[in-house]
């Protein structure tokens, strides 16, 4: 690293330029990752709170599983309850509807979750702790309470029925709509009022069972919570396209860093030949070159991350934006690795430099 640091100081303009490019790419990646995280949160935060080892959805022969079209009748629920190895079955109903406050014309889009009393869930489950005890009560997520501008004890109308706000809890979302919880009975009645069957749409099941066999017998599909997220259409299309953009930015960053260090190393080919003629090993020269690339990457990415944190805090007030290690440090680490892989291509110029060219008047 003896030469690396000194070259960084000597050619600081060039290195600041490439560091700036890396910082800008980091900013773009960080923004997209934060936005992806925010959109994902608005899609799935409530689904991630569903209990059980597997989530069961209806699986028809000609369609892919979907949270929005799944309906599980009493026979299916009973079949799962009686299946060998199944220890608990929690029937859950999910539909998207609208809620209004008396005197306010503007309805708010909401996701209605029908949750049974006494379900076996962790004490810290923020979805189930909102579940009301009475059929004429509802629990509101923070987003729903803000959209409707109501407080505990206020009344709201859902599908033509009036409910009292029993509690306001965490910020829970389902497919970009804030969550409202109600009893299974109240949810079933609401479902019927909007043209549904009133049957639960998803089962949260647990136990050491043969899930594939039971699924095949019952016309359902049992997936882990994470796998089941693909059954949320909005989530799949949004995250798919954003993830593609992030992947392309990763590729661009590797190419940009690789191209810069290839040109930079080619410009130094004469110096490298001299150092080899004086007795420098390929290993020492490669360590120096990669060390230099690492410094530029870490510097650029650090600046980019600071910008992401600053601007992300502002963007978070207007956009669904998540700042977390997963949306900042993880992409940064990937960029360091890919950037170094790009820089590795430049090492060809180091290993191929011929010390013989240092003699004579070639330089």
């Amino acid at each position: 690293m003896f030469i690396a640091w000194r070259e960084l100081r000597f050619a600081r303009g060039r290195f600041v330029l490439i560091g700036g490019v890396v910082a800008l790419i980091t900013l773009l990646v960080g923004f997209l990752a934060g936005l992806t995280g925010g959109l994902a949160y608005q899609n799935i935060s409530s689904v991630l709170q569903l209990p059980g080892d597997r989530l069961v959805l209806q699986q028809s022969e000609n369609s892919t599983p979907s949270f929005s079209t799944s309906t599980l009748d009493k026979n299916v629920v009973q079949a799962w309850e009686q299946a060998q190895g199944i220890e608990s079955v929690t029937p859950i109903g999910i539909i998207q509807s609208r809620a209004t406050v008396s005197g306010v014309d503007e309805p708010a889009g909401v996701a209605l979750f029908g949750l049974p009393q006494g379900a076996q869930v962790a004490a810290s489950n923020t979805l189930f702790e909102l579940t009301p005890e009475n059929d004429d009560e509802v629990g509101l997520s923070q987003g729903a309470a803000e959209d409707l501008n109501v407080q505990v004890g206020d009344s709201i109308a859902i599908t033509g029925t009036t409910f009292t706000v029993h509690a306001i809890g965490d910020d829970l979302w389902y497919s970009h709509t804030p969550v409202i919880t109600m009893t299974s009975q109240a949810w079933s009645e609401s479902s019927i009022r909007v043209g549904g069957s009133g049957d639960p749409t998803v089962l949260a099941v647990s136990g050491p069972a043969d899930y594939e066999a039971i699924s095949a017998q019952t016309g359902t599909i049992a997936q882990t919570t994470l796998s089941s997220l693909t059954a949320l259409e909005a989530f799949q299309s949004e995250i798919g396209s954003l993830a593609l953009m992030i992947a392309m930015l990763f590729g661009i960053s590797a190419l940009v860093v690789g191209a810069f260090f290839t040109v930079w190393t080619m410009q130094r080919a004469g110096d490298i030949a001299v150092l080899k003629a004086l007795g420098s090993t390929n290993g020492a020269l490669m360590r120096d070159s990669l060390g230099q690339a690492l410094i530029v990457l870490v510097f650029g990415i650090a600046v980019g991350l600071v910008a992401v944190l600053g601007l992300g805090a502002l963007a978070g007030q207007a956009l669904p934006f998540v700042v977390s290690p997963l949306t900042t440090l993880a992409p940064a680490a990937v960029m360091v690795v890919l950037g170094l892989m790009g820089a590795v291509f430049a090492l060809r110029s180091v290993t191929h430099a011929d010390p013989l060219t240092a003699l004579g008047s070639n330089r």
Binding site: A277, T281, L359
Partner: protein, 233 residues
């Protein structure tokens, strides 16, 4: 001491090979400067490249050292030849070939770091000699200047100090005055001769003319890759 013994070197030329150096023997004693001269294309730079282990001869030996310490550098692997250049050979290039990002002091310090992480003791030893060498070449006052801040003669003096910092047994010098005016050239040649004697190195110096012939203890003239008759010193 260095002895190039019956060196033959050929290069590919289409389907054939041309002989650049033909059975040349040159001997350089410790504390002496041996001039290697000849017209352009005579093969004198090829001889220096062979002596520097930058190119392996087709035949012959490169004997470096004294008595039992003598090794045949022509038989060394590429890795060992690189280590030999780092440890026992100093090279002064035609264009000084200093690293633009390094100061004069750092050009010398780098010699202790060419082998990578190994050799901390050697590194410390070299760092301790930097001031002495810069003083010896008259550049103490310019130690913190980069190459573009130095004159051609000063750059070549840094190059000489760099070649001697690790106390090599053999000093190989390639046309050191070709880019200098006559006065600077004379200073550089005088410096090489003085340091050769003071530090008891065996110096082989390639030059295309004999303007500075007074610094040589011996002169070998190469014509068409062969040793011609001895020139008068």
């Amino acid at each position: 001491m260095i002895t190039l013994q019956n060196i033959t070197l050929t290069f590919p030329d289409g389907e054939h090979r041309i002989t650049a150096v033909n059975n040349v023997t040159i001997h350089g004693e410790n504390g002496t400067v041996t001039g290697i001269t000849g017209p352009s294309g005579s093969g004198k730079s090829s001889i220096l490249a062979v002596a520097a282990t930058l190119i392996r001869p087709d035949a012959g030996g490169i004997l470096i050292g004294n008595g039992t310490d003598t090794i045949d550098a022509a038989q060394l692997s590429k890795k060992d030849a690189t280590a030999l250049r780092r440890e026992r050979i100093g090279i002064v290039f035609q264009q000084s070939n200093l690293i633009p990002a390094l100061t004069a002091r750092e050009q010398l310090q780098i010699m202790g770091r060419l082998g990578g992480g190994t050799g901390r003791t050697k590194r410390a030893k070299i760092d301790a000699r930097v001031n002495e060498l810069l003083d010896a070449v008259g550049l103490s006052a310019h130690a913190n200047k980069r190459p573009h801040q130095l004159s051609g003669g000063q750059r070549q003096r840094v190059s000489i100090a760099r070649a001697l910092i690790h106390e090599p047994e053999v000093l190989l010098v390639d046309e050191p005055t070709s880019a200098l005016d006559q006065e600077s050239g004379a200073e550089v040649m005088g410096l090489i001769a003085r340091l050769t004697r003071e530090r008891n190195t065996a110096t082989l110096l390639v030059t295309h003319d004999l303007v500075h012939r007074n610094v040589f203890d011996d002169v070998i003239t190469i014509v068409d890759g062969r040793v011609s008759e001895p020139a008068a010193v």
